[in-house]
């Protein structure tokens, strides 16, 4: 008998059906990958199984864990199941932990809530659990607080909380999405080894097909709350049985940039020895606040029509550098030159003509559009940089042209941001960047908040726009797939310095700096993962 047996699971929220007739199972020690676009019902399934949905949700069907029907249990009995029967890890480790409790104490509390054991015994068990997730108490003291740990270590603590009571089933909902590439690989490996060692069933929810290809035994593909495909990972991804799964796979494997350009034009944007320092929190009550160099003497240049990527992990200083290049932050030292003129930080007014040449697209399409404005006003905003404000008709025409360039109809202009999906919002943000017809656009993680299918669409759009208009890009990203798809040249940044630089294809195929090598090796590739699985050494 399977460990988890789901039959005819249906969920409706606010009168709308969100999951329909879902059936699947997870065996002892098996890793079931759950894939699908955002909004397909992946997370909803996890919440429905653990009965964590809001009270207004209607759930029907059958969920059996070790033969016990969960949907009929009382809330008190269910509390017992969560923890001892089912362990859960969510996406964001920063919010899953209590910031005021030391990590050892947090795990200890979890043990004491569920088991009637003495404090000493709970402590011993907590320390053993931290050891199981690779936080050896001898190296990482359990007296540390969450803010003293890295993102990966915090996710390990979250994992320790989930497995402290040796649950039969572990549900991991996008456990690596908030982490850097090199850390992602380690966390996935840890989950796989826990499953194998402790005969724990795992439901691993992710939009990252390459990651799933590496560890999942079977795969469940969801679309709009219904099952599209279900089967062994290698055969399902190697030869997708249905058009939807095939499209997911295609969207995930981004093509390399069409004919990388060797641009010989004049230098458009140049940074000379940029330094940016921050005050870090003071140590102790009387200690002096030390300074941290976020950007350490960086120089770079982008030529007209060239597409350059700036790659690095979170905290490497790449976003700070991008803001300084845009003139939003003042550099502590160094200069930014745009089209042969020095760009001054601060107010854009005095250098309007220069500012018109450079625009930006930001990471979060939910935060980058003012929720109180209609799209027309949002897209038209940069027109304020013109010497003379355009008339109403000209303004509408320019907004419509910009919206058309990103594939949105003129009707969009009269609507508000919340009426659009994440992918459409990012198109609107791109339209805003294009309305002045700039020569260079700086994009800060333009696809990080989008799922694979939308990411592929936005990247294709960026490729078309640069080809049609000779637009130069500086793309800040941590995703090497994105970099490969759009950049002619790439710069690798680590701890505030640029450590490697070269043509994208060359750097990716033969990285020289150890950091770039680690980055390339850790980047999940669907083809590589599948090949490894077929030769039988993919599963740790």
């Amino acid at each position: 008998m399977a460990l988890l047996e789901v039959r005819g699971l249906a969920v409706s929220l606010g009168g709308r059906s969100r999951l329909e007739d879902l059936a699947f199972s997870v065996a002892d020690g098996e890793i079931l990958g759950v894939a699908g676009a955002s909004g397909s019902g992946k997370s909803l399934t996890a919440l429905a199984l653990s009965r964590l949905l809001p009270a207004s949700a209607r759930t029907s069907g059958s969920v059996r864990l070790d033969g016990r029907e969960l949907l009929e249990l009382s809330e008190a009995a269910m509390c017992e199941v969560r923890g001892r029967g089912i362990g859960i890890v969510f996406q964001e480790p920063a919010t899953a932990l209590n910031p005021l409790l030391a990590i050892g104490t947090q795990v200890e509390e979890t043990v004491r809530v569920h088991l009637k054991v003495s404090r000493a015994e709970a402590r011993a068990r907590a320390l053993a659990t931290l050891g199981r997730v690779g936080l050896d108490p001898a190296r990482i003291p359990p007296e540390r607080y969450p803010h003293e740990l890295s993102g990966g270590q915090r996710q390990r603590v979250a994992l320790a909380l989930a497995v402290a009571l040796a649950p039969r089933l572990l549900i991991a909902d996008e456990p690596t999405t908030a982490l850097d590439v090199t850390t992602q690989a380690q966390i996935v490996e840890l989950i796989a080894s826990l499953a194998a060692r402790e005969h724990m069933g795992v439901m691993l929810i992710s939009h990252d097909l390459a990651m799933l290809a590496g560890v999942a035994d079977r795969l469940l593909v969801l679309r709009d709350g219904a099952r599209v495909a279900d089967g062994a990972t290698t055969s399902l991804l190697g030869r997708p049985p249905d058009p939807y799964t095939a499209a997911l796979v295609r969207a995930f494997e981004l093509p390399a940039a069409a004919a990388p350009r060797r641009v010989a034009g004049e230098v458009l944007l140049e940074a000379r020895g940029i330094v940016r320092e921050y005050v870090t929190p003071r140590r102790g009550f009387f200690g002096r606040a030390p300074m941290k160099r976020a950007v350490d003497a960086v120089s770079l240049s982008v030529r007209g029509g060239e597409r350059v990527a700036l790659v690095g992990e979170s905290g490497s200083g790449k976003s700070t550098l991008a803001r300084t290049l845009l003139g939003l932050d003042r550099a502590d030292a160094g200069e930014v030159w745009l089209a042969g003129e020095r760009l001054l930080a601060g107010g854009a007014r005095p250098q309007r003509a220069l500012r018109r040449l450079m625009q930006a697209v930001f990471q979060d399409p939910y935060g980058s559009l003012n929720p109180r404005y209609r799209i027309e006003r949002i897209v038209a905003e940069p027109l304020g940089l013109l010497e003379r404000a355009p008339g109403r008709a000209e303004r509408a025409a320019r907004v419509a042209a910009a919206l058309a360039a990103v594939g949105l109809g003129a009707a969009a202009a009269g609507r508000y941001p919340h009426e659009f999906s994440g992918g459409e919002r990012q198109r609107i943000a791109i339209a805003r960047a294009l309305v002045l017809e700039p020569r260079i656009v700086i994009l800060d993680e333009p696809t990080a908040a989008l799922d694979a299918a939308l990411r592929a669409q936005v990247l294709a759009l960026l490729g078309e726009l640069s080809a049609a208009r000779g637009l130069a890009y500086l793309i800040v990203s941590h995703d090497l797939g994105v970099v490969r798809a759009v950049a002619d040249r790439m710069l690798v940044m680590q701890a505030g310095r640029i450590v490697e630089e070269g043509a994208t294809a060359e750097v990716l195929s033969a990285p020289r700096h150890p950091y770039t090598q680690a980055l390339v090796a850790a980047t999940p590739s669907l083809d590589r993962a599948l090949a490894a699985r077929r030769s039988g050494n993919g599963h740790p």
Partner: protein, 275 residues
Amino acid sequence: MSAAAALRRDLGLGLAAAVGLAVLLAAIASSAGAFDAGLALDIDARLAAPSWLHWFGTDALGRDVLALVAAGARVSVGVALAAVATGLVIGVPLGLGAAVLGGVADELASRFGDLVFAVPSLLLAVLLAATLGPGPGDAVVALGVFNIPVFARVARGQARVLLGRDFVLAARLAGKGRLSLAFAHLLPNLSGGLIVQATIQLALAISAEAGLSYVGLGAQPPAPSWGRMLSEAQTLAAQAPWLVWFPGAALCLTVLAFSVLGERLRDHLDPRAGG
């Protein structure tokens, strides 16, 4: 959909609008002297229980409580609205300016707020009364000054959160100066929180006016206010409980109506709520 149909569809809003309208009419009517007959002293009818002649009963001086409640609306609601408006008009630009300018300006505005909070509004009202002579104007100024840092803090806090959002960066790239950033981008996004805070402050101001009247610093006798009616009723509450019921109910209903209306206004201004 017509306004009347909207009111029928939504009972809460309809009642709130009715209370608001009644308070407004009472204030206007009392300025026109409509209640003067009821406010006349009538020693024979002192402390009469509610009856057909005096619906809300009479007070210790034989004045009609219904007339007192209606006439009191002018001072109570007028002082509260004026005090909150003062806080909004001065406090919000102050808080927005502090958030957008940062540095020394922020420090000065915040310390000014701390200073005002440290001076009780009662003390301020005493000082004003000593220089200007007592009257409802003192209450408005004293409560208004007290409201300035309240709104300044709400505006500053929310504005600082919004300043970290990417749409603010996009606006700066589009050449927006600090002032237009504050008023064109931040203010519309602050309105929800400010409206909610304003309804809370209105309720507080109505009761604070009562406190000031009690010590003789607000409305001067015989001008009635709900606060003074409540404080005068204290010693008589056991004999004549209607002296507490009616001004108390008027105060509660008005505060409730303000918060319903404020909530609707907030939803109406937010495109996401579909209002």
